[in-house]
Symmetry: C2
Subunit: 196 residues, 2 copies
Amino acid sequence: MPNKDTRLTILEKGARIIHKKGYNHTGLQEILDAANVPKGSFYHFFKSKEDFGLNLLDHYAAFFARKAGDLVKTDTPPLQRLKSFFHGFRCFFEDNACELGCPIGNLSQEMGDLNPAFRKKLEEIFQMMVSPVEKLLKEAQERKELPRKMDTREMADFIINSWEGAILRMKVQKNPDALRLFDKMVFDGFLKQPHK
Amino acid sequence: MPNKDTRLTILEKGARIIHKKGYNHTGLQEILDAANVPKGSFYHFFKSKEDFGLNLLDHYAAFFARKAGDLVKTDTPPLQRLKSFFHGFRCFFEDNACELGCPIGNLSQEMGDLNPAFRKKLEEIFQMMVSPVEKLLKEAQERKELPRKMDTREMADFIINSWEGAILRMKVQKNPDALRLFDKMVFDGFLKQPHK
């Protein structure tokens, strides 16, 4: 009898393959093999491969919600917290030979034009990534560590978009230079303006 | 008898499908149908789908080489030329309902981990995009329109990476906001520092 653990196993094993190979290039059978479940078990939880894909996006959304929660919990100064946040991801990529990239960036690139339901959910997850960044920038503003005139929403959007671009470049450079450059440009550049 | 025009037709028709759907999700038959050529004709020019993909990258490389050539030809001030360069691409995306994205960014995301020959060529094309940007920044530096201490290579890399990130975000937002924000942050921010 399939249970909740089976559902999670299918999601996690499928996530791993799709992270590397993309959604369209991953066959249902590959996911079943990796999760070691029969087809019937898959269809007990998901109506179709598309339904699986959309549930996978919800799974990622929950991950980013947890990450966002962690970001606002500590007493560390906000900009330092933000820097550590990106640093943590950089360590992940360094540990993974600069492969995989961001699953949200990958799927946005792949599915943005092909499936409106994916597209909509992906933009929602982007907003979930932007929102805690904006919150930290606002906190820094209140502490007078950033200029009052800075549009924190715009800056947060730019930071997340540029981060996705840096990850994309990393995938072809196969070294973390682009992520380091992102760190330098954002934290020693944009977020170190004279504070008026 | 297949001729050079046939080869170009196959490349251009294939490029269009792959630009929207990705490389792995595009079947050889689709390319043949779009180019209206028999399989034999395809194999006259390309050893395999992979060989076609690598030739497609060379085709893009030639496109960017022409674009880079255009960038250094005019008398317009360098930073204005750079702004127009990105603006031209933004117009392309606006005319295409914010679909497609950058073919190099798309393929980097899709193939960076899957095929070392693609990966290598893609990074070479990235460098072909960075190089003219660096040249314009240097020119602006010589005209004292940018600070002498600016590392123009790093800035050019960051600009291209962030541009790719902005295009990626555009694909899920389905509006040009991220491209406009890129323009504002780069040209009214980074490239408008006090010039020491």
